[in-house]
Each structure stands twice: as structure tokens, then as C-alpha cells.
């Protein structure tokens, strides 16, 4: 792969680079990465094509698989824009203004990352499940949340809530608000200032956040597993479809569906790396997670 050299990522000469030790450490690293991290990826594609390309294609074109793909896209299409909007609003209010309670707000924004995905699904069942706080009311008014699309969306939103905000907050903090203040002083309206000054300043970080948010939204398993009910062709997103097929011993089908998700992960990884290489200056905490 060729890429423009990024100064900050060039290795420093090490005094530990004695003859002999470097190759050993490099080989050991490559071995750990290959055996632990890369091998699973290879196995997904090997097993997906274990019975040939036609079986693979049949598994992907099957109605339940198509329904699962559609549902996954719908869930992501609702959750990702909402979390992007939230991320921008949260980052704007947290970085452009000084107010009390900001630290608590930041903790709250990060909180979904520190709880188990299963708990992120469980909480919605506690609210809207058959015996949930609002369960009886929902049954009386014939509204379905759990074991239906709204539950899947809510669980996905909770799990992926911090992604965009986390990318934007450190960047906007570093950028400050001088440019916006200048525009406003010169008579630009608030909206014009946001669209013409802020948005161009944060676009790559926003894209980066949306990319990670989308990957997680489409690949989320634990949280949606709790609220889905696993109704085949109706409430199974692609990761849940993988689970259903795997538990039915339909391994080719499971790995075929998994290969789609693995491709999504790979594409995300490539785009993410490209953003880091080309726009590293415009991504604040891009390298951190």
C-alpha cells in the first residue's frame, strides 16, 4: 500500500534496536496478530464459500436473509442520523459554552460505552416489555416496541450514542470558537455561521464518527438480541440472522451472512484508516478509542 508519509507516525530510532531483537519482536507481533486477530476473518470467508459460490449466493439471496439485510439497513438509517444530530448538538453546547455540570454531562454521554450491550437491551425490556413500567399501557393501546422495530432502534441508539459526540467534542474543544465569533461579529446569522464555519471545520471528524457509529449499528448483536424475540424474517437483523442459522447448524448460511458483516467491518476499517492518513489534522482523537 502506498500512502503519504505522516510525520507523527514515523517510528523513532530506538536505542533498543540491537541486532537480533527487532526481527524477533516484529515476528512475534505478526504471529500474535495473525493467529488471534486475522485468522477469524479468514475463517469467515473460508466457511462461507465452503460449499461453493452458488451455495453462498443462494444463502444470501434467501428471503429471510434479504429481510434481515433490509431490517439492518432500516435500523441503521434511523439510529445513525439521530445519533449524529445528537452528537453535533451535544458537542456544540459542550465545547462552545462554559456552564456548570459539564463534567457530569460528559460522563453521561460516555456512559453507554461502559455498560454491557445486553444491559443496553435489558433496560428497554424493563420499560416496555410485557411486565415493563409502560407494558400494560402499550398493550392497551396496541403499540409494539419490544419484539418489534422500535425496540431494535432504541437498543441500537443507546449502544451507539457516544460515537459521533466523542469524535466531535475533543476536536471542537481544540478549535475553540474564535472563527464563529468573528463571523457573528461581521453580521452573519447563527445558522449561516454554523453551516459556513463550523460544519466545514468538523466535517471529517463528523464523517469519522458517523462511519464508526454506522458500523456498530449494523453489527450490534447483544443489545438487539435481547429486544428482538428472534422472529425469523421479521425481527432478525443480520447479526441475529447469523445466530439463528448457526444455532440451526446451517453453517454455510451463517458464515455467508457473517461474510457480509465482515465485509462491512473491513470497508469501515479501510475508510477509517484512509481518513486517519489523509485528514489526521482534522480528527482530534481519531487515533484513540
Amino acid at each position: 500500500m502506498t500512502a503519504p508519509a505522516v510525520a507523527i507516525r514515523r517510528p523513532k530510532p530506538s536505542s533498543l534496536r540491537r541486532p537480533g531483537i527487532a526481527p524477533i519482536l516484529i515476528l512475534a507481533s505478526v504471529a500474535v496478530m495473525a493467529g488471534l486477530v486475522v485468522l477469524p476473518l479468514g475463517v469467515v470467508f473460508r466457511d462461507a464459500f465452503a460449499k461453493g459460490v452458488s451455495t453462498y449466493l443462494a444463502a444470501i439471496k434467501e428471503p429471510d436473509a434479504r429481510a434481515a439485510i433490509r431490517l439492518t439497513l432500516i435500523v441503521a438509517a434511523i439510529s445513525v442520523p439521530l445519533n449524529a444530530l445528537f452528537g453535533v448538538a451535544a458537542a456544540w453546547s459542550v465545547t462552545k459554552f462554559e456552564f456548570k455540570g459539564k463534567a457530569a454531562l460528559l460522563t453521561l454521554i460516555d456512559l453507554p460505552f461502559s455498560i454491557s450491550p445486553v444491559i443496553s437491551g435489558l433496560v428497554w425490556v424493563l420499560l416496555f416489555g410485557a411486565q415493563g413500567w409502560f407494558g400494560t399501557w402499550l398493550v392497551d393501546h396496541d403499540v409494539k416496541i419490544i419484539f418489534a422495530l422500535p425496540g431494535l432502534v432504541l437498543a441500537t441508539i443507546l449502544v451507539t450514542l457516544p460515537f459521533v459526540a466523542r469524535e466531535l467534542i475533543p476536536l471542537m474543544q481544540a478549535q475553540g470558537s474564535d472563527e464563529e465569533a468573528a463571523a457573528l461579529t461581521l453580521g452573519a446569522s447563527g445558522l449561516t455561521t454554523f453551516v459556513k464555519i463550523t460544519l466545514p471545520n468538523i466535517r471529517w471528524a463528523l464523517l469519522y464518527g458517523v462511519l464508526l457509529c454506522n458500523a456498530r449499528a449494523m453489527g450490534e448483536f447483544g443489545a438487539v438480541s435481547v429486544v428482538s424475540g428472534h422472529i425469523r424474517g421479521q425481527t432478525t437483523t443480520l447479526p441475529l440472522h447469523v445466530e439463528v442459522l448457526y444455532n440451526d447448524y446451517d453453517f454455510v448460511g451463517a458464515f455467508a451472512a457473517a461474510s457480509l458483516l465482515a465485509s462491512l467491518g473491513l470497508i469501515t476499517l479501510i475508510l477509517k484508516t484512509a481518513l486517519e492518513w489523509r485528514h489526521s489534522g482534522e480528527l482530534a482523537a481519531g487515533r484513540k478509542h
Binding site: 500500500m1 517510528p11 523513532k12 530506538s14 533498543l16 534496536r17 540491537r18 527487532a22 519482536l25 516484529i26 507481533s29 488471534l36 486475522v38 485468522l39 476473518l41 475463517v43 469467515v44 444530530l85 445528537f86 448538538a89 451535544a90 453546547s93 462552545k96 459554552f97 456552564f99 456548570k100 461502559s114 455498560i115 454491557s116 450491550p117 445486553v118 444491559i119 435489558l122 433496560v123 428497554w124 425490556v125 424493563l126 410485557a130 411486565q131 415493563g132 443507546l158 450514542l161 465569533a181 457573528l184 453489527g219 448483536f221 447483544g222 438480541s225 447469523v242 445466530e243 448457526y246 458464515f255 457473517a258 458483516l261 467491518g265 476499517l269 479501510i270 487515533r287 484513540k288 478509542h289
Partner: protein, 287 residues
């Protein structure tokens, strides 16, 4: 006498600094409403619902052998996996930061693969690899080690999922590590081992600890990459998140919430403890 020139108004305590930028009300209003509906309300349900059972009921629920076994397994294996991630992460981060070799950038990008791969995909792939007929599982079986469907299988999945946290925490700090300090130590006659232990590791310790605790926190709650390889035998290979799922399937909401709340409380207590230790460590390390 009253000084009339001075304004009478007391300095009003302000919760927000004045700013000429617009949009504070809308932005904060939107943020708080969203957080309230998506994070606070649901987590309030988690905090409140277990107590429907009463204090003794919650205690009884958590004292069940199956529950304590699951909690012990989840927290114990997560700690072990996070600890193994420390040397592995040090090795990989060191290689990526210090050495120039073909494919370094690709290796660097691949570190994020466990983040990028959906957990269910990682889960079925790991269980295919470590199953008795899988490429690595069969090797282990030859020397009599059961990997998949045993605690060892869970451990491997947790190491997989936690590795990027340690590498990514260490990399920026290693990048900034001053090679001159090492060289100074070398000039003063320190051996390689002494330099690593006395100079390099102390400088990396805070980042290493935070990486390991992130890996630990992730491992405790991990579900997708573990359930397929775990075997899910009660008392033996049943992780705490799976127990929540099972209790929900039995409509035991309060029981599920009790296990969930216990997980959150234990995990946060451990993380706060690590944080305190880290602060103490950092203060002690300062000259």
C-alpha cells in the same frame, strides 16, 4: 453611610458564562432531552426494578449459586484476559511505534479489526477455529486441551476483544517517549533490561493501566463474541450477560435487572479502584 455609587445587587451566581454564540438553549435542550430519554430513564429502570424483590429478595437472587458462578466467571476471566492483553499489547504497540518494516501500516490498521468485526461474526469464527475439528482447536485437542466450550474458549474470545484497547492506549505515549532518556540511561551504564524496567515501563504504566482497565470493562460486558464459543453450561461456562438473557426469556425481569445492576456496580467499583490506584501511581512517579 450607604455608598450610592456602588450597585446594590449582589454578584449573582452564574451557572453559564455569557457568550455571543447562539444556539445554547437549543443545543443543550436537545442534548438533555435525548440523554434523558435514551440513557437516564432506561438506566433508572435498571437501578430501581431489582428492588421490587425487596432488599432480601435481591440478596437472595444474587446469592444463588448459578448467579455467583456466572459473576465470578465473567469478572475472573475478564481480569485474566485483560492481564494477558498487557504483554501482548506492549509487544504490538512497541513493534508498531519503534520499528520500520514492510506492512507496518497494514498491521497497524488490523489492530482495530476486533472493533470493526461485529461481535457475532467474531463469535462464530472463533468457535469454528477453536472447535475440536477447527484449525487451532484440533491442535490443542491433540495435546489434550479443550479450548472451545470451556472457560479457555471464553478467555481466548476476551483476549481477542480486548487487545485493541491496550495497543491504542499505549501507542501515543510510546510515540512521545523520549529516546534520549533511554540513551542517557544507556550511557550511564544501564543494561537493556534495566532500561526497560526502570525507564520505559514506568513511563508507560499509566497508559498501560488505562488500556488494561478499558479491556477489562469491555470484556465483562461482552456477549456476542463469547456466547458461541462458551458452551453455556450453567455453573461452568455461563457468563453473566447470558444469565440476564436467560432470566428475561423466563420473564424474570427483576432477577435479570438484579444481575445487570450487580454487574454495573461491581464493574464501576473496580474501575474506580483502578483509577484511584493510577492517580496514586502517577503522583508517586512524579519527581
Amino acid at each position: 453611610m450607604i455608598d450610592l455609587a456602588r450597585p446594590l445587587a449582589l454578584p449573582r451566581p452564574r451557572w453559564k458564562e455569557p457568550s455571543i454564540l447562539p444556539g445554547f438553549g437549543v443545543g443543550l435542550g436537545l442534548t438533555l432531552t435525548y440523554l434523558g430519554l435514551i440513557v437516564v430513564l432506561p438506566l433508572a429502570a435498571l437501578a430501581i426494578r431489582p428492588w421490587e424483590l425487596g432488599v432480601s429478595g435481591v440478596w437472595h437472587e444474587l446469592a444463588q449459586p448459578r448467579v455467583t458462578a456466572a459473576l465470578k466467571l465473567s469478572f475472573g476471566l475478564s481480569a485474566l484476559a485483560a492481564l494477558l492483553n498487557a504483554p501482548l499489547g506492549l509487544l504490538i504497540a512497541w513493534t508498531l511505534v519503534r520499528y520500520q518494516f514492510p506492512g507496518r501500516r497494514i498491521l497497524d490498521a488490523l489492530v482495530d479489526l476486533p472493533f470493526a468485526l461485529p461481535t457475532a461474526v467474531a463469535g462464530i469464527a472463533l468457535s469454528a477455529i477453536y472447535a475440536p475439528n477447527g484449525p487451532l482447536g484440533s491442535l490443542a485437542a491433540k495435546i489434550g486441551i479443550k479450548t472451545a466450550y470451556s472457560p479457555l474458549g471464553i478467555f481466548i474470545a476476551l483476549v481477542f476483544i480486548g487487545l485493541p484497547f491496550v495497543v491504542r492506549s499505549l501507542q501515543p505515549v510510546m510515540q512521545d517517549l523520549d529516546a534520549e532518556v533511554e540513551e542517557a540511561a544507556q550511557t550511564l551504564g544501564a543494561t537493556t533490561l534495566q532500561r526497560v524496567i526502570r525507564v520505559v515501563l514506568p513511563a508507560l504504566a499509566p497508559a498501560l493501566i488505562s488500556g488494561v482497565s478499558l479491556a477489562f470493562a469491555r470484556a465483562v460486558g461482552e456477549y456476542g463474541s463469547v456466547v458461541f464459543i462458551a458452551g453455556n453450561l450453567p455453573m461452568k461456562t455461563e457468563i453473566a450477560p447470558l444469565l440476564i438473557v436467560i432470566k428475561l426469556e423466563q420473564y424474570d425481569y427483576a432477577g435479570a435487572a438484579a444481575v445487570g445492576l450487580a454487574m454495573v456496580v461491581i464493574a464501576f467499583s473496580i474501575l474506580i479502584g483502578i483509577n484511584a490506584a493510577q492517580t496514586w501511581f502517577a503522583r508517586r512517579g512524579r519527581p
